[in-house]
């Protein structure tokens, strides 16, 4: 702390993505949905490319493909034509419409255009549901887009409905493997859950004989509608704003009790999550997780010396950084810099909270930074490794230190969507990865090349 705060005007190698991308990902996690960007054609194509390079999966994002005259006279006609075309060929149950900087700036009133569209085409047969979210790319990051889309889905679809024992689970932006894991955990506690969004199948699907215009899977729309009647909402995100995400809306509008937790990464945050499920279900911790917890602690003991004195730079989305920092502190690695391109204003407090009473100095915490800042501040702190997505590779390479890949995007390795970050199981995988990376580095750098640890 007390270090000079870089305050550059320009951005170099951003550590964030733009807002509509997050909305597209969230919409992709709804059953029968097609993400749709109201803007120029390039946005949809660029985001598809970016997402494909991580998931190695198709993701069709439609666009209203505005041209020059639309930018001047308004994009309403193109939006309607685009919706009509998507409906004709994709036959979606829902179209998730996110705006872009272009359409936000020219001032298109999407809600009004949609109600006109309903009047004009509603008679021709049943229209797909339309959920809209404002995602001007000049405000916030992909995370605001993601949470905004989740909130919009809940806001525009959920009704009070019948009271139900189902629990809403709003995990935020996690991997496909994480989503599958969360569904299993809920089932392990005997809980019926509505997980929103759920792209565990739609962005990590099987080989097929036909191209899946809309892949199977995703949160069923009926389940989203029923969320207002569910008995509780569990929402991950220590840096989420009060009115961000879907949980607070469900609480306000339908009185669904909201339980906000950190992303269940590492031991204590996973404990908190499983304890919450125990409380909600009245079921004690299932054996599978108790056993995994036991193995995790056993391995922390086995490996602790290899991590003693090690330092790490952690970067990425704020909630992910908070979760990773909590985990690192538990295993005896000192996080020296925690950085994000996001700027919730809440990351430092969240990190202070997760570090709790661990004998660990508070790391330098920086929001609203890019990789130029992270490199400048981080390398001076002499970290032993970097922990974050693949865009830190250039910096890791220059510094000659390992990059341990987690989160999104992972553009230079296979299987980013299958990395498990959550629960004791995820912590185990991360721990093995971290400790082995340190052992491998020592082994490779050693003139002897020991064949035992």
């Amino acid at each position: 702390m007390g270090k000079k705060l870089p305050n550059y005007i320009s951005t170099t190698n951003a550590c964030k993505l733009c807002r509509p991308l997050g909305a597209c990902l969230a919409f992709r996690g709804v059953e029968g949905a097609v993400p749709f960007l109201h803007g120029s054609q390039g946005c949809a194509t660029y985001m598809r490319r970016y997402i494909i390079s991580h998931f190695n999966e198709p993701i069709d994002i439609a666009s209203s493909s505005l041209g020059e005259k639309n930018a001047i006279y308004g994009g309403g006609a193109n939006l309607k034509q685009g919706l009509k075309n998507v409906t004709a060929k994709y036959n979606p149950q829902l179209i998730g419409i996110a705006t872009t900087c272009l359409t936000e700036t020219i001032g298109d009133d999407v809600a009004m255009i949609l109600s006109e569209y309903g009047r004009e085409f509603g008679a021709e047969g049943e229209l797909p549901l339309m959920v809209r979210v404002a995602t001007p790319s000049y405000s916030g990051t992909h995370m605001e887009g993601f949470h905004g889309a989740v909130r919009a889905l809940v806001e525009q679809l959920a009704t009070g409905g019948e009271a139900s024992d189902t629990v809403n689970l709003l995990p935020g932006f996690v991997s496909a493997a994480d989503l599958r894991f969360l569904k299993e955990v809920m089932a392990d506690f005997g809980l019926t859950a509505t997980l929103l969004p759920d792209y565990s199948d739609t962005l990590d699907g099987p080989a097929l004989a036909d191209y899946p215009l809309i892949p199977k899977g995703g949160t069923p729309i009926g389940a989203i509608r029923a969320m207002g009647g569910n008995r509780a909402t569990v929402e991950f995100g220590r840096t989420l704003g009060e009115n961000e995400g879907g949980g607070s809306l469900l609480a306000e509008r339908f009185g669904v009790p909201l339980h906000r937790l950190g992303l269940p990464m590492g031991l204590r945050e996973s404990d908190a999550f499983l304890a919450k499920l125990s409380e909600l279900s009245g079921v004690p911790m299932p054996e599978r997780h108790a056993a995994a917890r036991g193995r995790l602690i056993d391995s922390l003991v086995d490996g602790h010396k290899y991590l003693s004195g090690k330092k790490a730079v952690v970067y990425g989305e704020e909630d992910l950084v908070v979760g990773l920092t909590s985990f690192l502190a538990e295993i005896g690695v000192t996080p020296v810099l925690c950085a994000s391109g996001g700027k919730s204003g809440r990351m430092e407090a969240a990190i202070r909270e997760v570090l709790g009473d661990l004998p660990m100095a508070m790391p330098v915490v920086r929001e609203d930074v890019d990789f130029h800042d992270i490199e400048e501040m981080g390398i001076a702190l002499k970290p032993d490794f970097l922990l974050g997505h693949s865009k830190g590779y250039a910096m890791a390479r220059r510094a000659g230190i390992p990059l341990i890949r987690v989160g999104f995007p992972i553009h230079d390795r296979m299987g980013g969507q299958r990395i498990l970050h959550l629960g004791y199981h995820g912590a185990q995988q991360l721990f093995d990865l971290v400790v082995n990376t340190m052992i491998e580095k020592k082994q490779d750098d050693s003139p002897v090349g020991y064949s035992y640890m």
Binding site: I52, S63, E68, A71, V86, Y90, C101, T105, Y211
Partner: protein, 449 residues
Amino acid sequence: MGATAIFEERQDQIHRKGDAPFAISCNKESLAGAVSQRACVFCGSRVVLYPIADALHLVHGPIGCAVYTWDIRGALSSGPELHRLSFSTDLQERDVIFGGEKKLYAALTELIGRHRPKAAFVYSTCIVGIIGDDLAAVCKRVAAETGIPVLPVQSEGFKGNKRAGYAAACNAMRQLVGTGDTSNMPRHSINILGDFNRAGELWLIRHYYERMGITVVANITGDGRVADLQRAHGASLNVVQCSGATMDLARMMEQDFSIPSVRVSYFGIEDMAESLYAVARFFDDDPTIMARAQEVVREELSTLLPELEHYRTALSGKKAAIYVGGAFKAFSLVKAFRLIGMQVVMVGSQTGTPEDYEELQAITDPGTIIVDDSNPLELSAFLKEKEVDLFVGGVKERPIAYKLGVAFCDHNHERKEILAGFEGMRNFAREVYASVMSPVWRWVPRREA
């Protein structure tokens, strides 16, 4: 099957050779809602200028445009690597309201001070076109203050398609050409336009020309340098590859400096050889140049052809589909596939011209589907209908092929192997072979049925 996949509005952008007299509609705005594979004007400018390695490339706009084009193309540099960094003004809401000129000025000044580039390109994005920042004025002011060329690129995303972006890039580069010293320039000198040095291809091509006794003045833009562009008008000939990405610059240089140009392609054996012969023919005052060109081709083919035989035997009769950005590359690919015994059954591009498609239908077999500005729905239907064995395209086409259990060859951003030149033909055959002959296809649902 194919019929339901095609929008009424797009019927005339698809032609099946032999069905009817050739006619195809193209160069249109993408159909809203059709999930076009196209990007935007900005993308066109960015990919063309990006390999200029000692220039600063500042994207004036919200963060997305810069972040999605960060180090995307693997255009190699033999020296500086400034082009691999992603610079942005990261416009925020207040900039959108009050204007972004101040921030642009400050960011430019800061970055030029930090990196000392030889020039700066400042890209306009959608939103800049709407809020009306005077890019040219800011660039002019910073140029005067820093003493380096600072060039606005008018690449607002919505103002057309990729081709408009190429034109904007060429306009920006034109500002550099003609400002450098051209004394002691040899007569037998060329500029290489339209190769972007992916995987080091430019170096390979350049070396062929050097073996012929030709001096290469400027690579535009692969492994590009500002100073080379500034003296590019000293060359005797522009050798232009690619579907018009740099054609506008060649045209301007012909007009302003009387430098003629030839259009070439470095993909496949015939086109590669012809690229060398065309230059040799131009310099016919020295017959040894043609002799050396023939020597280069002979030497290269003597090792290449026997190797190709192996691939040809294995791949003979397999069917290929092509979908690329510019149609010009597709011409060469059709020929390259023929050379390894494969039949092209579908070929399309994002931004082909009527002449491009005319040419494609002339060189393809009857029944071949020719398509402009396609989308996943159509492409996947064509792959199935034609029972394609291998699809060649870019990142966005890859999951379409793989999901359906079709082999794939990346001929765009993410390839790491040289696909140009004689060596590239060898790599191309090897890559096609590696994918088509993999045992994994045995397990996919398409083959199980």
